[in-house]
Symmetry: C2
Subunit: 453 residues, 2 copies
Amino acid sequence: MALMNKLDGYLNAYQMESIDELSTLVAQPSVSAHQQGLMECSKIIVEMLKKRSFEVQIFSNDVAPIIVAERKGKSDKTLLFYNHYDVQPAEPLDLWLSPPFEPIIRDGKLFGRGSSDNKGNITNRLFALDAFLTEEGELPCNIKFLLEGEEEVSSKHLEEFVSEHADLIQADACIVEFGGVDHTDIPVEYLGLRGICYVQLDVETANQDVHSGLGGSIFPNAAWRLVWALNLLKDQDEHICIPGFYEKVRKPSQRDRELMRKLPETANDYKTRYEIKIFLKGLTGGVDLRLAEVFEPTCTICGITSGYQGPGLKTVLPAKASAKIDFRLVPDQKPEDVLNQLRDYLDVNGFNDVTITYLGGEAPARTDPDDTFIQLVVDSATEVYGKPMQIMPMTGGSGPNYIVQQALQIPIATLGVGYPEGNAHAPNENIRLNDYIKAARHLVRVLDAFGRV
Amino acid sequence: MALMNKLDGYLNAYQMESIDELSTLVAQPSVSAHQQGLMECSKIIVEMLKKRSFEVQIFSNDVAPIIVAERKGKSDKTLLFYNHYDVQPAEPLDLWLSPPFEPIIRDGKLFGRGSSDNKGNITNRLFALDAFLTEEGELPCNIKFLLEGEEEVSSKHLEEFVSEHADLIQADACIVEFGGVDHTDIPVEYLGLRGICYVQLDVETANQDVHSGLGGSIFPNAAWRLVWALNLLKDQDEHICIPGFYEKVRKPSQRDRELMRKLPETANDYKTRYEIKIFLKGLTGGVDLRLAEVFEPTCTICGITSGYQGPGLKTVLPAKASAKIDFRLVPDQKPEDVLNQLRDYLDVNGFNDVTITYLGGEAPARTDPDDTFIQLVVDSATEVYGKPMQIMPMTGGSGPNYIVQQALQIPIATLGVGYPEGNAHAPNENIRLNDYIKAARHLVRVLDAFGRV
């Protein structure tokens, strides 16, 4: 306890220094979708690691370097942190109350793109390590970092890198990029990630937009072609109609249902926060809503664009139309299967004029809730939050967990600075400073316990 | 013939002065959809009319003034020109080879937004009048102008104005704003306009976009709601599914078919110009294609917007989606009927969450092909083009003809500077200088004959 008091004292005293470090990171735009500022951001990260005497290796590719860093600690055990320094695009810019890349503290929160996802977790890891280095002069265990700059665009280079450099990043356990508390302020241990298959559908019916008075009854209309093609993918009962799509879906187990049942009710919170009138499929709440949220695959239209979208009216027949579609996958679906099934389905239905561009994909992955490392992380929360972490056997998001899991065969935990109103991927992304210090207090306990196992 | 020689001589000598006048008009943006520059443009028009000693009356409203101008001529007959000084939005700007509001001559063509639709016709009318005023010192008949600045947004104030001021604009015949040659360089007399009912559909499912990993399987998605609602409107066989939609459709008569049969083939020209692979409904060309083009009502998606539309991928579930829909109507459909039918249909199918905003509408209108004024206009073309005008009993576009026709009960002819590659409503709008002088030569013959009837 004396050690924990010292570490907590450090964290209390130096929080704003760490928030300053985070602000530096947020102020550097690093939007992987636009290939903006990735190199610059990676350099800031490397400097931060070197400052802590990490041995840093930089692996360049044509998009954003992958960074591997290592520093030895007291015990022989090795913990791997996987994080990413890229962020989602900040658009729509007009909905931000302050500029996305000008971090600012308001009402006890730090606002800025990446403050939560995922730069806040990077500096928070470093903050926890700083506590040990300052108070103890050494780390409690070996620490490795694996950092990439393409997580928000489906980690294109990570799989090959990890399979080629498994030795370099080999560890006993891994903590991945995200995590945080739910709306009851209790942290959640997320033990699975859905996969993703993200595609863009494009239709082109002419070499230019045509006056709608001319072509309306005789020319193909790209927007109509797209609408009809999209309509084929999912019916109004939310059933995804692509043949074979559900074939490899593994239903949640009894243990999954049991864990999901213990989680708090989310229905009212969602309804209030997003002003949603009804849930899909007649769901009203309870364990069924929570199971549907994470154990079912999805087909989400993320965006559609075609023709005239300005104010008032313009009478054109659009020559081009496109949609971005995000399929979330559950074990044991695979993105490459979905891609093939989609192509076949469109072709069979006469939509071979709809081109499919694969923008990225990841397979789903899960970690055993009864693994000892997971129990350690879950229990270490009690001292900070008053309760152990809640265990969520699966979560709705996606990430490269399966890459790490496949190559290293180690348990993967989550722990981080997030909270439900953090607006990850949306305007006004933010973290609460209170969550920031709690996450660091939790992490120092995890590191201490892990080093002593 | 002596008179025509003099008038042609004038037109040959002063074409570039008239093109300069047109360039001044084009250089003044007047985008009614954006309420941009309308007042400024109306002032330029008024000056142009006053310069020709027209008595000008300006009727203000909250958008764009309606201008009525009159000058007496030799005969008692009165010809009314209906034109509009507003233009379509210039977007997408990146497809213009030169800025839309910086008129420029390239390859014998004047490029700029409004050069064809409809500013070119305004200055062309004035150019023909100038020939008479210069060579004869007077106009061959009374001339009235009715000019508005809201044609591209469905002439919202025109109907009320015309019904209240019918005396002021009363005339024996009218030439409306558009016209020109077809792809064989023979001018076309367009004797009908389809109506239009232009609506925007909007869906809002939440107060913000949501991370697609979170809400994909349980939150309503505005883009999906919109796709399903749109899909209800028209099936893949191009049948518009709104109950009652076809009820008042009058089929083309035998005389219509006969006139349509005389018109030149358009199929190959369309295929080449727009790089269209197939026509709708199995049409391949001939009179059937031409009949379908203008005698059938349409439901055209002019634009769709929802969610993320930038480069790469962004995993969001859109809270908002909207589409712009343009129904072209044929006699005796009415826009208000379609609006009601659409609302009922969406409601009956469970889409009362889709709001409909009526952006504008006009009823269809036709003029008798065997009217004596029409024959005069048609025959006057022979001396200029080597052939009389081709008669098209109906055309695909829309306009306020029915307003003039309803109030004044006079024949309405078209005559103008357009040609098929003029890109009206599209980037790189242009006219050919050759067409410009021919249209003026045609018009002076019409005026002369009309004054002598």
